[in-house]
């Protein structure tokens, strides 16, 4: 890296906003086109039936009228997702630290953790229902937790062990304890890997919680809302509920991304390099 030290270019407010506008205007345009398509193209031109995808305005008005039930259902499911996320990620991180300490063991187990990530966890939803009861949030929390566990474990372990050997030699020259090496080198090095996994896990947790409902769940949850709306032919409500699930998933992901931006301000991917 032979970039000469330079002050970060600032420029005038106008040019900064102008540069940023270039970034988000296309997305806004697509958004507008998408809404237009939903409202007119799909129902009127393609004649897609109401039970497949109701008109945008119909879904939106139901979204507004039913907002009380929808958001409380969303919150109920969101809590399950967050609890599962917290549980799965913290156990995964703890185990990753332990496994990275004993490299031989960690190396031996890695392929199995990676293979276990390939198991369709969702197929265990009926079993967690049997364990904790259909109506208990724990059955969904456990599914969300297991969904989060493997990606975070694999990535955290990879991050903790990807420290460059010279850095470890440097630490040895400081007669650093293992704890110090973890605190000062391994953990900061693993952060980019961990955050990537946390972002993936956040979406998986939300999806897991909703999908879990399909195998049986409380009427206060989002997934059951969708199912019962469909069975009552209230397709607008069903889609409004799906929208709520999506919005919450995006919100969860974005929250992690924002934390990442702060925690990884120093990392190449967040250095605001124009790509």
């Amino acid at each position: 890296m032979s970039v000469m030290a330079q002050p970060i270019p600032q420029g005038t407010i106008v040019s900064r906003v102008g540069r940023r506008a270039q970034d988000w205007i296309p997305a806004v345009v697509v958004f507008g086109l998408g809404i237009a398509a939903w409202q007119w193209l799909i129902p009127d031109v393609f004649h897609v039936q109401r039970f497949l995808l109701p008109r945008f305005s119909a879904v939106m008005s139901t979204f507004w009228h039913e907002r009380g039930t929808l958001w409380s259902a969303g919150w109920f499911t969101f809590k399950e997702a967050v609890a599962g996320f917290a549980l799965g990620c913290s156990v995964a991180l703890a185990i990753a630290v332990v496994l990275s300490r004993w490299k031989r063991v960690g190396g031996a187990f890695m392929p199995y953790a990676i293979a276990a990530n390939a198991i369709p966890i969702i197929a265990f939803a009926p079993i967690t229902n049997a364990w904790f009861g259909l109506l208990s949030p724990w059955s969904k929390i456990v599914i969300a937790a297991v969904l989060c566990f493997f990606p975070v474990l694999v990535n955290a372990l990879r991050g903790l062990t990807s420290v460059d050997p010279e850095s470890l030699e440097l630490m040895r020259s400081y007669a650093a304890s293992e704890r110090a090496v973890y605190r000062r080198v391994r953990i900061p090095t693993s952060l980019p890997f961990v955050f990537t996994a946390l972002k993936v896990a956040s979406v998986l947790a939300m999806i897991g919680a909703v999908v879990g409902d399909y195998f049986g769940g409380s009427t206060r949850s989002l997934g059951v809302q969708v199912q019962s709306s469909v069975s009552l032919s209230q397709f607008e409500t069903a889609w409004a509920a799906i929208l709520v699930a999506s919005i919450l998933g995006i919100a969860f992901y974005t929250a992690i991304a924002v934390v990442e931006r702060f925690a990884l301000a120093w990392h190449p991917s967040t250095r605001g390099a124009s790509e």
Binding site: V3, A5, E166, R172, S173
Partner: protein
Amino acid sequence: MSANDAVVSIRRLSKAFGGGRVTALQDISLEVARGEFVSLIGPSGCGKSTLLRIVGDIIEPTSGEVTVNGKTARRARLDRDYGIVFQSPVLYDWRTVAKNISLPLEMLGWDRARRTARIKEMVELVELESFEGHHPWQLSGGMQQRVSIARALSFEPALLLMDEPFGALDEMTRERLNLELLRIWSETGSTVVFVTHSISEAVFLSTRVVVLSARPGRIAGIVPVDLAQPRTAATREDPRFFELVTDVRERLHAGGADEVLEEATLE
């Protein structure tokens, strides 16, 4: 050279890897006195970096004895008697220049005030005053190595171990940093053991040049460098400089270096 003056004392050191299959170093004996600047030079694979790491107790020898500052290498490492600089700066991206320099100080448990004072001194020593708040990736390679040197010297070790620290830099930067390093050496009065594959760099910097043979590494010769101190850019044009460079080159040849390392073709 009495034993009391020797900062590093190596006696009949050997190192073999892979269960005895590869002998990196064979029967090395060497003493480095306080305040010396000793270069280790030899062809690739001759074990010079290995030797440096054994002195730093980063690797263990197979046989033989190493004393640093009158203690075992291990004790010296635990007492933090030396600082080490590698070919790559090994700086941490998540720390500013100032915080990178203070890393060993934090680990030694220095309080904030003391650390801040020392950081200021070190930053002035390596002439990076306005860059304390920068991150490593905002600096050039040469500047990063200066930070690495500042960090190595931050806790005032008696001994400085350097493993081809300027190897990755261009010739101009390297020459400039050579002068910087000599200035720092005279200002701090430390002892330096310096590994390089550049003959001219070795002769320019050192008080003695130790030539190692090709694998298994043995001492092929020691060349005392009697050029005037302090060395300047003009020293490189001194006829005595060329004589010494030739001397070192011939000993490298004799030691079995298949390729004589020409300055112009250094990568």
